[in-house]
Amino acid sequence: MTAAALDDVDLQAYFDATIAAGHRIEPRDWMPDGYRFGLIRQIAQHAHSEIIGMQPEGDWLLAAPSLRRKAILLAKVQDEAGHGMYLYSAAETLGADRADLTDKLIERRQKYSSIFNYPSLTYADVGVIGWLVDGAAICNQVPLCRSSYGPYARAMIRVCKEESFHQRQGYELLMTMMGGTDAQRAMVQDAVDRWWWPSLMMFGPPDDDSPNSAQSMAWGIKRHSNDELRQRYVDMSVPQAEFLGVTLPDPELSLDPETGHYRFGAIDWAEFQRVIGGHGPCNDERIARRRAARDDNAWVTEAATAYAEKYS
């Protein structure tokens, strides 16, 4: 064995021991390429989801029903941008380049959450996105606060602190609408009908069809399986739906008295694959808008660069 190869073995052993002890990996530590690139893939996908996630709700900023709702929605959409920034910052500690990641998103070489390829048709969607979509995001993200990669875990702590506001403002909006007219209640039910199943898909494919999961769990990047988190989410959401007075669109939903968990119907994974594959209702629109944001605003960054060169 050469000295260099021996070195790699030591490094790998030290890395494995750090993970096994439940300690965090930090940016300047040695790490296997698979760990690095797997993390970049996951963090970039997560960051892209935050950035694209501004669009369905951003569509309602100019049509908010009151100044109060508008201020709330503006703050929320701004948070999503911030979450994207925290995550790009974490990805960069692994050697990725922010602008390059954005290019990959626009060129469809990296993915984002399938949920944001559905349209937001009424203001009730703003409430349901906060309640169900951000609720699912919280379920996914809380365990990531203990992810083995330090910068990712720290970014998630910041994100989770802010997500709680997102979910609560959504639920409060829905409570207000449910206390309104029949037409408003119908809007809420319609939005729940459209968002419930896509929300369940946010946890990713079932465990027996999730190619990256096992390695991610072994490395402590992920802490729970997709199906575990999905079940937790269903168990949390059912009583919230009951309190709100809406019906979740799943006739098979029922409490299993033995396990204490809710059983739910089969998820349409063909739809999930279709949307992930670029053929959801809004994929083209979302990407076109992100591309326009990059290209149409390029003059701003160029002007700032020119100013900095002139005066600093």
Partner: protein, 121 residues
């Protein structure tokens, strides 16, 4: 010393070159330096590292840091510093760098045995 950037350094010791991550012409942002951001949470506390961002100059970096990292009273003061200007200890030096502390137990208060009935000790 470009490999001694801090948390967000692109030239971390073991990072392989990434395909397509080189600068592209005609897009100013790619040339913006990386800044590390430190926030003092409240009076009486140290500034703590919170993340990084890219900005064309120091002043814009402070403004961007305010928007990205302090939307909810998270801080009363912000420092930004170019990542390239931070000199950090290398993880490879962990033994020679920090090991000398290990055998100097007399630097800790618990090294000294004081009878329990001595007050305020």
């Amino acid at each position: 010393m470009s490999d001694l950037t801090a948390e967000g350094g692109k030239n971390t010791p073991s990072s392989p070159p990434l395909a397509g991550s080189g600068p592209a012409p005609g897009r100013g942002r790619r040339d913006w330096p990386l800044y590390e951001v430190f926030v003092r949470g409240k009076r009486g506390l140290n500034h703590v590292h919170v993340g990084s961002l890219h900005a064309p100059d120091d002043e814009m970096a402070v403004h961007a840091a305010r928007d990205v990292y302090t939307r909810r009273n998270e801080g009363v003061s912000i420092w930004v510093v170019k990542a390239a200007d931070i000199t950090a200890s290398s993880p490879d030096e962990k033994d020679p760098m920090f090991a000398p502390n290990g055998d100097k137990v007399y630097r800790h208060p618990t090294f000294y045995e004081i009878p329990e009935n001595v007050p305020h000790m």
